[in-house]
């Protein structure tokens, strides 16, 4: 029994797994002295559905509708990672237009998540209006997804070899309409959240991620970029059409929750800009490469690690084929894996108990991608 968990000096509390302040279903076991946390342990396992094991029992094609379920707000990155891995292992050439449509879908998804996450950050400190607005704005983007792929949440649209359907008639116009509609409301959003003395008080200087932790722990995405790092897979190892799009990686130096919220806010602007440019340079042509008989589709033995940039940072798939009809191993590496466990446990020590969900949301921890 050490000082940080001494029952005479500390209070022992479980936060989650069912709690509105927790992102998804995970729990944090905390010991605190007064208001100050002395020790925190993250517990996961409430969402373990055995995706990786399931994938070893499914045909290659049957996995693409499965992987998207690993992440609710941003399913497309899973489809993209899986499709990239399969394409590289089997040597499939993806048509040009499919690559651009995929980029569009990924950027729309990032746009939707950042809207929700930015508003959600305000929600954790009681600014419920911001959270509602974020969800409403995201819903406008979901309407676009419904029009494009036929589903609002699990799009199952990016499949190995390309995308499943061409853009529907008038889709470009609808996207621009939604961008304009949301774009007009964003200043209002800023006034509500960023220029809010309550929000600033609760986030500036809170939840510090030290820059030296980035390499040590392998931090990625807004968490790393909010602490001055320029890591962004879209720039570092461009996939799909990102290599052909010129943009600046968004970084902030504050290291705190406010910086991370600012990163998300600026990412929204970047996504809107990228979506407009993608629509402008969308090439023509086919949208899917031919695949062999799907139930007899064997992929040559090989191993690959593919990574894409999700709204939470680098997202990786390690896929192994043994030449059979089914994958030998698919290992999903979500950014929350480290963020929600190693980093969160470290950050919470010394934090105020009221800031726990605030910190957690600023890391956008997502239990499904930890547990798979």
């Amino acid at each position: 029994m050490n000082a940080s968990t001494d029952p005479l000096k500390t209070t022992h509390l479980f936060f989650g797994p069912q709690h509105p302040g927790v992102t998804g279903n995970m729990s944090v076991e905390m010991w605190f002295d007064g208001d100050e946390i002395t020790k925190a342990i993250t517990h996961v396992g409430y969402l373990h559905r055995g995706f990786e094991k399931l994938m070893e029992r499914r045909l290659w094609i049957q996995n693409f509708p499965l992987v998207c379920r690993i992440c609710v707000p941003e399913p497309d990155i899973n489809e993209e990672c899986y499709a990239l891995a399969v394409e590289k292992l089997d040597g499939i050439e993806v048509p040009e237009r499919a690559r651009w449509i995929r980029t569009l879908v990924l950027e729309l998804a990032r746009f939707a998540v950042n809207l929700m996450a930015f508003g959600g950050q305000a929600g954790t400190i009681g600014l419920g209006t911001g959270a509602m607005w974020g969800i409403t704005f995201r819903d406008f983007v979901l309407d676009l997804f419904e029009e494009l792929s036929g589903a609002r949440v699990y799009h199952m649209y990016i499949q190995p070899g390309g995308v499943r359907r061409d853009l529907p008639e008038g889709f470009e116009k609808h996207v621009l309409e939604v961008l304009d509609k949301i774009g007009k409301r964003l200043p209002e959003f800023d006034r509500l959240i960023l220029n809010n003395s309550v929000f600033k008080d609760r986030t500036v200087g809170v939840g510090i991620v030290k820059p030296e932790w980035i390499s040590e722990l392998g931090l990625v995405g807004p968490v790393a970029r909010g602490s001055g790092s320029g890591r962004d897979v879209r720039k570092d190892a461009p996939y799909e059409a990102y290599g052909e799009l010129d943009f600046d990686v968004v970084t902030e130096q504050g290291c705190d929750i406010y910086s991370r919220a600012l990163i998300r806010r600026r990412e929204i602007d970047l996504s809107m800009d990228l979506i407009r440019r993608i629509l402008e340079s969308m090439p023509g042509g086919p949208v899917a490469a031919p695949l062999p008989n799907l139930t007899e589709w064997r992929i040559p033995p090989g191993e690959i690690y593919t990574r894409v940039e999700s709204s939470r940072g680098e997202y990786g798939y390690y896929v192994v084929s043994d030449g059979s009809l089914k994958p030998r191993r698919v290992h999903v590496r979500g950014p929350s894996y480290v963020h929600a466990l190693t980093l969160l446990e470290r950050m919470l020590v010394g934090a105020n108990i009221a800031d726990v969900s605030n910190i957690m949301v600023s890391l956008t921890t997502c239990p499904p991608e930890i547990e798979r």
Partner: protein, 186 residues
């Protein structure tokens, strides 16, 4: 950056097989005795500062676990992967938790899912995803998920199902061949 990746193995003193090579991407297989040395040199001399993942492939047919360490450089532009085979029985792999704190977490998962022992990992016996798991580690290839599920949760309502191929064969008496030449399972 590719040159840097090439140098990691060309400046090492031992044999390695390249599994996959690409722009900013190198995956090598080495003997398990050289893994720690290669990991350390990649981190200290070649800027491969970040440990992204430790993964396992259960190659049950060869009675080995193939472990893979995935490293990235500090800028995130290149990926370096090291694979090595470890015997499957009582599999023991040295921990690298003192080099990368995140390894403690990754190894904890592998310990639970594959039963691999990482001596020296302080947290490997904590439950990660499963509570009170007393069965075979579930990600091993010899763990039968269907059998486990039937035993634990019982069978779900019977599913109606007829295979068209068998239905056709039976209804036209296709299998009444005067002289069957080949025995095969239907």
């Amino acid at each position: 950056m590719d040159k840097n990746l090439q140098r990691i193995i060309s400046e090492s003193s031992f044999e390695s097989d390249t599994i996959r090579e690409d722009e900013g991407y190198l995956h090598v297989r080495v003997s398990r005795v050289h893994v720690l040395e290669l990991l350390l040199s990649a981190k200290q001399r070649f800027d491969m500062e970040t440990l992204q993942l430790i993964s396992v492939v259960d190659r049950i047919e060869d009675a080995v676990f193939q472990l893979t360490w995935i490293l990235e450089d500090s800028g995130g532009t290149s990926v370096f992967m090291i694979s090595a085979d470890y015997p499957r029985e009582n599999c023991t792999v040295p921990t690298i938790g003192d080099i990368w704190p995140t390894a403690i977490l990754f190894e904890r998962e592998l310990h639970e899912m594959y039963g691999i022992d990482f001596p020296g990992n302080p947290r490997q016996n904590e439950d990660f995803l499963l509570e009170d798991w007393r069965e075979l580690p579930p990600m091993r290839r010899d763990f039968d998920t269907l059998e486990y599920s039937l035993r634990t949760y019982g069978e779900r309502r019977k599913r109606t199902h007829t295979d068209p191929r068998e239905y056709i064969a039976d209804s036209i008496d296709e299998w009444d061949t005067p002289v069957p030449m080949k025995d095969f399972e239907r």
